[in-house]
């Protein structure tokens, strides 16, 4: 429900719907009513870092899932990878690593499918300016029922994979320090194999939809919320896309390497976090470039831009098409996230296929351990981007310190830039129009932010957009979603 309050010179925008979580945007104007900056405010809840203090380390991969009801598996795996090192078990057995990968690709599949089909497809199918009454998942279900069903079924398939590997769809226990607590039975495997061809087929058509949408609307999208940035992600030893494990790579807007094959145990030498007075969420940046120039994107766009290749054939072919659009250079379009995300969706489906045919999944050698350690970092490429977990554990096995940089925090500056760009291009005068509001929403959504996770809080959160002049005077405010306040 949009709500416009025009009390003299005040304008406001509230809840951004279809973003997982909630936030508020302020757009700052100069004396000529030109946009100077956009700020996405998120109320950060730092309770979690305190909450884990004193807890035994083997509990953390399960406990940490309380952080976010939307992406618990990413936290489960990042924490488990960190705790692998505490027990000296980071060289997992083949069965353990493959079970964890299956869990991870399962969640990537379900997360990307949910985002694309439920949250994004209404924008693409009906246009940014369509009536919000139609531009939603119910509208999609009515007009394109087969598409809505595909979204639901792919999501369900991913969730079943999570359940089979973690024990439950949320708050599972599958990954434990040094390994996993179960393998995949032949019966479970056969169940997944039966439905897999359909899943791969749907992933192909979702990718096709995203790609064709982007090429058909290129004129409109090329500049929509677009800006140049650095890109950061994990890559495998040959530079291949690897969502579960690898070393850090960062490239600049021209595609040049900033650093490569950095062991993430040393991330602290390469990445720092800036605090700004107006935001509770931190602003990570690459140390060597400084806070002004060192910020970077993470997530599907960054990964497809930065990896050298993809080790599954169909996704690799799709990556090449993606790269061809920009002549091999990194793609700077905010809206290219959707295409990149669907390349990963297909990649996840292909990976699941390979894994399910691997007899290691039925292995019984599940846990290893070795040299005990006291400080550790665990990273994964979560669906939304690079996720950092950093812990210290004392000699009594208790966690004494914890620092997390979640995917959405890594994308903090990029989201601000995207909103800023949209505001520059679509704001006229000092009134937030419905069209501007919709476009701000669409730009933020491209990053698939998990505000629930970034703020370490659960549940739904509204988003408002405010327009303020140089003195901080509120010019306009517009809100949408559950609660227009």
């Amino acid at each position: 429900m949009a709500n416009v309050a025009t009390n003299g010179k005040r304008i406001v925008i509230s809840p951004v719907t279809r973003v997982e979580g909630h936030g508020k945007v302020t757009i700052l104007l100069d004396d000529d009513n030109k946009v100077t900056q956009a700020r996405l405010h998120i109320v950060e809840f730092r309770g979690f870092e305190r909450f884990v203090q004193g807890r035994p380390f083997w509990e953390i991969p399960v406990l940490v899932q309380r952080l976010c009801g939307i992406c618990p598996v990413s936290h489960h795996l990042a924490a488990a990878k960190a705790m692998d090192r505490i027990v000296g078990g980071e060289k997992l057995t083949p069965t353990a690593e493959k079970i964890r990968r299956l869990m991870h690709y399962g969640q990537t599949l379900q997360s990307h499918a949910l985002h694309f089909f439920h949250l994004v497809s209404p924008d693409l199918l009906f246009g940014f300016d369509a009536d919000p009454e139609i531009r939603n998942v119910i509208g999609v279900a009515r007009k394109f029922p087969e598409l809505a069903v595909q979204g639901v079924m792919m999501r369900k398939y991913g969730q079943e994979l999570i359940k089979a590997t973690a024990g439950k769809k949320i708050h599972g226990t599958g990954a434990i320090p040094g390994g996993v607590n179960k393998n995949l039975s032949i019966e479970e495997r056969d169940g997944f194999l039966k439905d897999l061809p359909q899943i791969v087929q749907w992933a192909r058509s979702a990718l096709k939809l995203a790609k064709e949408y982007t090429s058909e609307h290129l004129k409109e999208l090329a500049d929509f919320g677009t800006f140049e940035s650095n890109h950061l992600c994990l890559v495998g030893p040959s530079g291949e896309l690897d969502l579960y494990h690898g070393n850090l790579r960062a490239i600049d807007a021209g595609g040049k390497t900033i650093f490569d094959q950095v062991d993430y145990q040393n991330y602290i030498d390469y990445i720092a976090e800036e605090v700004k007075s107006w935001s509770y969420m931190k602003f990570p940046f690459i140390k060597s470039l400084g806070p002004e120039n060192g910020w970077y994107r993470v997530g599907p766009l960054a990964r497809i831009n930065a990896c050298t290749f993809i080790d599954t054939p169909e996704a690799e072919a799709a990556r090449q098409e993606f790269k061809a659009l920009t002549g091999g250079k990194p793609n700077a379009m905010t809206m290219a996230y959707h295409w990149a995300r669907m390349i990963e969706l297909l990649h996840a489906a292909e990976k699941i296929q390979t894994l399910l045919h691997d007899p290691d999944l039925q292995g019984t050698d599940l846990v290893v351990k070795g040299e005990r350690r006291y400080e550790t970092v665990g990273l994964v490429e979560a669906p939304r981007g690079t996720l950092f977990h950093h812990y210290e554990v004392n000699e009594h096995d208790q966690v004494t310190r914890c620092n997390l940089i979640v995917s959405t925090t890594n994308n903090n500056t990029p989201m601000n830039r995207a909103v800023e760009k949209v505001a520059r291009d679509y704001l006229s005068g000092t009134t937030i129009t419905e069209g501007l509001l919709n476009r701000v929403e669409v730009a933020i959504r491209a990053y698939d932010p998990c505000l629930s996770c970034a703020t370490h809080a659960m549940g739904q959160m509204p988003l408002a957009v405010e327009l303020r002049d140089r003195r901080g005077e509120l010019l306009d405010r517009r809100a949408k979603g559950v609660d227009a306040r």
């Binding site: 807890r55 035994p56 083997w58 509990e59 991969p61 406990l63 320090p177």
Partner: protein, 241 residues
């Protein structure tokens, strides 16, 4: 000297021997009376009161009451179920029990009892007491957040292990299971192989570094509800999560 007698539980006549408690006689006959503190081989202390039954119409704890000839006992009545549910709910709110990330989940008697009694969320306000973790022992951890003061560990250390590691200290809200050392369990002669390390019904005394090794689905109460190991005709399992 023991004599064989007959008692009745919920209208069923069962044989018993006079040195038995009601709980023991019921167990032998395959009738489950819920309990949280009683433990085979340990002297019953009647602390949890979950085993309360009606003996000739009067409430008594089954774990401490010896059988007597002709006793008429009621075990499964709506009032007793309500009483037990209230006791369990109070135990939940008096400590900090987060089943969702507790490694004892699925193997926990308190959780198992809550499922058996059909408790969803407690009706009482959570007290959220400040409690500590004692991680000083190299192989065993005490998480006081989850202690329900059943007293099993205190007795087991004495009776089974011939040691005297645990004792109650403090009163009322400050009461806790203390150890006989100034600087925690690590200073005592406690060993992970002690029987006292295995009797805890909840996740308060835990062997270190083995949590979550048993996958969901394979834990004790995932498969059948608490009490079904005693009952002749197990109740239908409501799967514990």
């Amino acid at each position: 000297m023991t004599d064989s007698i007959t008692i009745s539980i919920d209208g069923v006549e069962i044989p018993a021997e006079t040195h038995h408690t009601i709980l023991e006689a019921a167990d032998k006959a395959g009738i489950y009376i819920p309990r949280l503190c009683a433990y085979p081989g340990l002297k019953p202390n009647g602390s949890c009161r979950v085993c309360t039954v009606l003996v000739n119409g009067r409430p008594q704890t089954a774990c401490t009451t010896p059988v007597m000839k002709g006793m008429v006992i009621q075990n499964e009545t709506p009032e007793l179920k309500r009483l037990r549910s209230n006791l369990i709910e109070m135990l939940f709110v008096e400590g900090n029990h987060y089943c969702m990330f507790c490694e004892k989940s699925g193997n926990c008697e308190l959780q198992g009892m809550a499922y058996r009694l059909g408790i969803k969320t407690p009706h009482f306000p959570y007290l959220e007491p400040k409690r500590e973790i004692d991680a000083t022992h190299p192989d065993v951890l005490i998480d006081h957040n989850r202690c329900i003061f059943c007293g099993r560990c205190i007795q087991a250390s004495k009776t089974f292990d011939g040691k005297n590691v645990f004792q109650y200290i403090g009163r009322t809200r400050n009461k806790k299971v203390g150890v006989n050392a100034d600087d925690g369990l690590g200073e005592t002669d406690f060993a992970a192989t002690d029987r006292a390390a295995q009797v805890c019904p909840v996740g308060a005394i835990l062997k270190k570094r083995v949590g979550f090794k048993i996958p969901i689905g394979k834990r004790i109460y995932d498969r059948s509800p608490i009490g079904s190991e005693i009952e002749v005709q197990p109740k239908d399992a409501g799967s514990a999560q």
